[in-house]
């Protein structure tokens, strides 16, 4: 069965690239432009992995992660944060919020696929 990955990013370019790459690797992909959209989208369909940007308008990535983790059904949902800010404190923040892991931008498609496989098979 195809797994569904949700990409949350305010950058259309990023969403397009994540979608294209993952669709090519056999995943279903849903897109959301900010945390709020992600929250409403995830309420209506099953998602196996969330890949979220951190810096977004309306609801940023960390808030999204915290909100998701607060929902019992998503306690063990893999959530990857997409960041260019490769510093420890960001990662620690993300982890404290409940992120599963991170992908550092820019990434190449192979890396993206391998990270996704690592957390959701």
């Amino acid at each position: 069965m195809k797994k569904t990955v949700m990409t949350v990013d305010d950058s259309r370019t990023m969403r397009d690239m994540v979608s294209f790459t993952l669709r090519g690797a056999g995943y279903d992909v849903v897109e959301a432009a900010d945390g709020q959209q992600a929250m409403s989208a995830i309420a209506t369909r099953k998602v196996d992995l969330v890949i979220t940007d951190l810096n977004m308008p309306v609801m940023d990535g960390l808030s999204l992660i915290r909100k998701l983790r607060a929902i019992p059904a998503h306690r063990t949902l893999p959530i990857l944060m997409l960041t260019t800010e490769a510093d420890d404190s960001k990662k620690a923040e993300g982890r404290a919020a409940g992120a599963t892991g991170w992908i550092v931008k820019p990434f190449n498609p192979d890396k993206l696929v391998s990270v996704v496989q690592k957390v959701c098979g």
Partner: protein, 759 residues
């Protein structure tokens, strides 16, 4: 190659970056010392950040390096580490420009000339308050030095130097095994993986990690159940297992690849990895491994009963702990105002919309045709048909408005460019200028918006350069030092009215007049009203600046503005009060597809006059008419002489009324305010007409702006009043104009054809 895969997204990236640059610029222009809006700062930061992020994916190294510098300073602003000063804003605006340049080089696929970013980078770095954090100007994203030591992460996508730096950091690790010593063959890795119990709650799944290890080579996995509690005590959300994996991998699989598998959990788990080189010439058999057959250089796997995974020393946080370092004051964009423009919109090719506009235009015509035919039916019959048609008319109107609104855009996209312009003009002239804008959300057709940029640019330059006084002069005459330029937009009776008002010195009429006389534009001794003098500035080749400044005084000023505006079906006027300022008023149609017109008849022909040109229509008395010998007929209307133009003479139309006292005179006004009386047979009524380009379907005709199709299927020409005046000037009293007579029969044919088409 990955980069090829991604190249298809380049266009999206450049489009989006252009939007982001505009967002950043708008934000930067609003950024001022004191009262910094954090949402705004965040929006700018995000814009630069996104451009950098995408740029990295396409390998635009220099662009990314520069964006990084820009972003670093914005980050400082965001964290209130860098105070907002005018100097800072100037530098940031320049940085935004340079970023735009870098993007356009990247889009062209050319290298930016060496040193393009140097000055700006240096300027940016000065605000960081310390010496260059990362020397080497053009290095790809210089990840701040503090980021490097964390050797468990980020191996993936970082390009260039950063990758090398991380690799170097990794190589320094004493624990690193040395698989490189084996020339070929395999390396045997032993990995002991003891995740901590809460691992699952971060969304990590050990199964997938073990699978990832398997993808690296031949793996034998032993699962340890020693910590598994009895079923009664089992908490299903906690993890009680640990594993030992023996991996036989190619020499090419290095430590980093294995570390990578545990990238996200390294801090929270006890992971021991060791490598063993095989004895020369012996292929290590797979059965040689088991959990207890520890290779020589492997620290004995901790006894299965050992205390649960003491995290490595570096770990400072647990998933439930408070966010370390998260206490920085920042407003993480909750402001809707500057939210990305991507939400809830779709991008559609303009051609598609234009096709739609066209189809709706055809529908409006068809609907008008049906209505026309229905009018001939006997009253009291076909009631349902009539009602249905009313509904159709209503829906058609709504459809047309909806379709037009797709093409409509707020003028803010033009207005938002003006603060920048004002800033530059103010700097170039040494004047202090405050720009006030209002009505930015007023919507108008996209084409109109696009064509507004040049005229508005010119008018604002003109206001600052010619209108406003210098600060000292203003102070002397009791005005505030800073002049005000007010740019406003509003809808008024189906048109958009844009005003540029300044509180400067107003038009110097004496100077304008003498200049006009000097240039031969006005006869010496001619008496002109104030209004007429003001409008002289719209004449071609007129420029009052004593010295040609590098701003506006190139003498191609206001006449070009007027030409641009009138080509959009618009008009421009000026109102000026000496010492108090000037006001330029532009009035434009909301759309270039539909026009409010008055249908008139001349002989058998129908014409449409744009409503905006019409002053009034009247039937003159014989006493009002005067003939000027060999010149033209004039008429006295409201106390002034107006030249009469007989349309039937101009276009050679037979069987039309020649005597104005038996027909009607429609008084029209061109955008420069001069009046003309058109002699017509009859005024038939007001109607919205769909504009059809004559050039595209036939050819250009003098005195005709476009064509339309009336409800009865006839082609009617939309008259161009300014063009008519020119024609009448040249043709004088000649009864027919041979050059144009030939044109109309052809059109007549078209009209006939149209009529013959089944409705």
């Amino acid at each position: 190659m990955p980069v090829d895969d991604l190249s298809r997204f380049k266009q999206t990236y450049f489009d989006e970056s252009a939007e982001l640059l505009a967002v950043a610029e708008a934000g930067l222009l609003r950024l001022a010392p004191g009262g910094v809006d954090m949402d705004e700062v965040n929006a700018i930061f995000r814009a630069v950040h996104s451009i950098k992020g995408g740029g990295g994916a396409f390998g635009f190294g220099e662009l990314v390096a520069f964006a990084h510098e820009f972003e670093t300073v914005m980050d400082g602003v965001r964290n209130a580490d860098i105070p907002v000063t005018t100097g800072l804003v100037d530098t940031l605006i320049r940085a935004n420009d340079v970023l735009a340049q870098m993007l356009s080089y990247a889009a062209d696929g050319t290298e930016a000339p060496a040193g393009t970013t140097d000055d700006t980078v240096a300027a940016l770095r000065r605000f960081l308050g310390k010496a260059d954090p990362a020397p080497g100007a053009a290095a790809p994203p210089p990840e701040p030095a503090a980021l490097l030591p964390d050797d468990e992460d980020d191996e993936a996508g970082i390009f260039g130097d950063a990758l090398a730096a991380i690799q170097a950091a990794r190589d320094d690790r004493p624990a690193a095994a040395l698989p490189g010593a084996i020339p070929d063959g395999k390396v045997r890795w032993t990995i002991v993986f003891r995740p901590k119990a809460e691992l699952l709650l971060s969304g990590n799944e050990p199964t997938y990690m073990l699978r990832a290890l398997r993808r690296l080579g031949e793996a034998e996995i032993v699962c340890h159940l020693d910590r598994l509690p009895s079923l009664r005590d089992l908490d299903a959300e906690l993890l009680h297992l640990s594993w030992t994996v023996t991996l036989l991998a190619d020499a090419g699989v290095d430590r980093a690849r294995i570390d990578d598998v545990f990238e996200f959990v390294a801090d929270d788990c006890d992971i021991r990895i060791s490598a063993e080189a095989p004895p020369p010439a012996v292929i290590p058999p797979a059965e040689a491994v088991s959990a207890n057959a520890a290779p020589a250089n492997l620290p004995e796997p901790a006894a299965p009963t050992a205390a649960p995974a003491a995290p490595p020393a570096a770990t400072t946080s647990s998933p439930s702990g408070p966010p370390p370092g998260g206490a920085k004051p920042k407003a993480n964009g909750n402001g809707g105002d500057h939210a990305g423009p991507t939400t809830h919109t779709i991008r559609v090719d303009l051609d598609k919309i234009d096709r739609l506009v066209n189809m709706v235009g055809e529908m409006v015509i068809t609907q008008a045709m049906i209505a026309e035919h229905l009018r001939d039916l006997p009253p009291g019959q076909f009631q349902e048909l009539r009602e249905g048609l009313e509904g159709l008319a209503q829906h058609t109107r709504e459809l047309r408005e909806s379709v037009m609104s797709i093409r409509a855009q707020p003028v803010s996209s033009v207005f938002s460019r003006m603060p920048r312009l004002v800033r530059e003009c103010a700097a170039a002239t040494g004047k202090e200028v405050m720009l006030v804008t209002s009505g930015e959300t007023t919507e108008v057709d996209k084409t109109v918006v696009e064509n507004l940029v040049d005229p508005l640019t010119h008018m604002i330059r003109n206001s600052i350069d010619h209108g406003l006084e210098g600060p000292d002069e203003r102070e002397r005459i009791g005005k505030p030092r800073a002049g005000t330029v007010h740019l406003s937009a509003a809808h008024r009776s189906g048109r958009i009215v844009i005003e540029v008002t300044d509180d400067g010195r107003g038009i110097n009429r004496a100077k304008v007049l003498s200049k006009a006389i000097e240039k031969g534009l006005v006869q010496p001794g001619a008496s002109l009203s104030d209004e007429e003098i003001d409008h002289l500035i719209f004449l071609p080749g007129f420029s009052t600046a004593d010295q040609v400044s590098n701003l506006s005084g190139r003498g191609v000023g206001m006449d070009v503005v007027r030409r641009n505006i009138s080509s959009l079906g618009g008009r421009i006027g000026v109102y000026s009060a000496p010492g108090e300022g000037s006001r330029f008023v532009l009035s434009l149609p909301l759309t270039l597809a539909v026009l409010d017109g008055m249908v008139i008849s001349v002989g058998e022909e129908r014409f449409v006059l744009p409503l905006t040109n019409i002053v009034e229509s009247l039937r003159p008395k014989p006493a009002d008419l005067h003939g000027l010998v060999n010149k033209c007929d004039v008429m006295m209307a409201r106390g002034e002489y107006v030249r009469l133009v007989h349309l039937h003479r101009l276009f050679g139309i037979p069987r039309a009324i020649d005597d104005a006292t038996r027909g009607l005179v429609v008084l029209v006004e061109t955008e420069d305010g001069s009046r003309l009386g058109l002699v017509v047979d009859e005024v038939l009524g007001q109607q919205q007409v769909v504009i059809k380009s004559l050039e595209a379907n036939f050819r250009r005709l003098d005195g005709v702006a476009a064509a339309t199709i009336l409800g009865d299927g006839r082609v009617a020409l939309i008259l161009d009043v300014a063009g008519l005046r020119e024609m009448s000037r040249h043709s004088g009293t000649t009864t027919t104009a041979p050059t144009t007579t030939s044109a109309l029969p052809a059109l007549q044919d078209q009209a006939d054809q149209r009529q013959r088409q089944p409705v």
